[in-house]
Amino acid sequence: RPRRFLPLLAGTPVHQAASSSGQGRVFAKRTLSWRLVGEAASGQLAEAEQRRVFRLAFRMWSEVVPLDFREDLAGPAADVDIRLGFGRGRHLGCPRVFDGSGQEFAHAWRLGDIHFDEDEHFSPPNSDAGISLLKVAVHEIGHVLGLPHSYRPGSVMRPNYTPREPAFELDWADRKDIQKLYGSCEGAFDTAFDWVRRERGGRGRPALRFSTYFFRRGWYWLYENRNNRTRYGDPLPIPAGWHGLPALSPDAFVHVWTPGRDERYFFKGNQYWKYDSDKDQTHKEDERGRRYPRPISEGFPGIPSPLDTAFYERRERLIYFFKESLVFAFDVNRNRVLHSYPKKITEAFPEVQPGDHPARSIDSAYFSYAHKAVFLLKGSAYWRVVSEADRRQRPWLPPNGLLPRRPISDRWFDVCDVHASTLSM
């Protein structure tokens, strides 16, 4: 049964890169190539605009599932995984004839190609007229990946076109449907932290808000705790949102916050930066005119570098710095390491379940305001630190004990990479 009907590519092999999941056949590869077939581009929009819309449509799916999509303009057409083309009536060698403007506007082949009816009036994302090419492309890509139609309100897989919806995004249920086929996104983070902002609340009263950020390599995501997902359109490149920081992820972030101090520090390699929350950029120099970045050994005597991670414990007014198998408790008032430190991480944060401990090289130590708990993240797992509330309920738990590991993706959802070529969309 031929998989594709673009005569330009006659004789293309039936797709070898498929495997079967419980829900049917799915792509076996994690990076899939796509191409708008030049001879089959639409005459209605500039070709560059069509390709930009398709790049965005593929990126929307890769933001929620462990698949990357890259546009392949150079390789042999037969090797491209997903081909997109426009045609009228009997088109592109396809056995299914388009019906003219109205009714059927596109169709797709599972693990294969997507055809758009050129007789329809397709429009770019910011236009109200016609049929949104982005919406149709996202829908048809859903079919290619293996999703059937859904009549659930709000689903992008509804068979009929719904004009002028509010924000067109993949909702929770669409995400879970595609993750049944391809799994959810996993992977270690370089840093995770909550950023506290002072804002004007209702009736002009000062209010405190926090945003949760995850960093990995040169990218970051804002995580919307109340929506259980990352911000639509993330990840973003670090320089786009953090001015003055290096382009690659920081090793650690601490927010030293006491009644008299509100200081935010980023650590990378042997240096550290102080960040100006109001101006949203790194400070140029400290109060004594010393320029940033500064050596960690100067600003935090006794602390080694490079660091694995760090977090600030507000009640104790201590910064816990982690490096390899050791942890250093740094007294921010006396500006020195506590005498009883460094300690083995396994000693300062003992396992609750025998044998279940990250032991060393922690990726990120993160105090979460949303969960009112400290988490140690390593690889795709996290360990939650026993809190005072835990010990009031279960007194036998050791202070700062580590509860058994859990997958990060069980608590923070859909923090997915995208292909580097689509990072700055």
Binding site: Q103, R110, E120
Partner: protein, 119 residues
């Protein structure tokens, strides 16, 4: 370029014959239901090539109406025909309910009208 001859390119507009034929009658509705998987395609899996019995059709119409939040009358009333004429994707909505009790997975080859050898 996309070929046109009129100065104002009005002939670029889809020629009248290029408009999808509206679904207004029983036969067109039945083709729609078969095309999008609400009834077995004629000739598929031993289905008799002539028209399916009225009861089967009414049942298919009722299921289509329920999926589209319409009154499940089983009749081809105006709201049902309007729903059939809305812009839509060409992939079928479901595998038609098989005559046997075996449920079909997502169609390997979702485009109906193409006879797919069944395993």
């Amino acid at each position: 370029e996309t070929l046109f001859h009129s100065r104002d390119r009005s002939d670029l507009e889809p020629a009248p014959q290029r408009r999808a034929k509206p679904i207004t009658d029983h036969h067109a509705a039945q083709r729609f239901l078969s095309k999008y998987g609400w009834t077995e395609a004629p000739g598929a899996r031993g289905v008799s090539p002539e028209e399916p019995p009225a009861a089967t059709l009414a049942e298919a119409v009722r299921r289509f109406q329920e999926a589209n939040a319409l009154h499940p009358s089983g009749e081809l009333d105006a709201p049902t025909l309007a729903a059939m004429n809305r812009p839509r994707c060409g992939v079928p909505d479901m595998q038609p309910l098989p005559r046997t009790a075996v449920s079909d997975p997502l169609p390997r080859n979702p485009l109906p009208g193409v006879s797919v050898p069944r395993a």
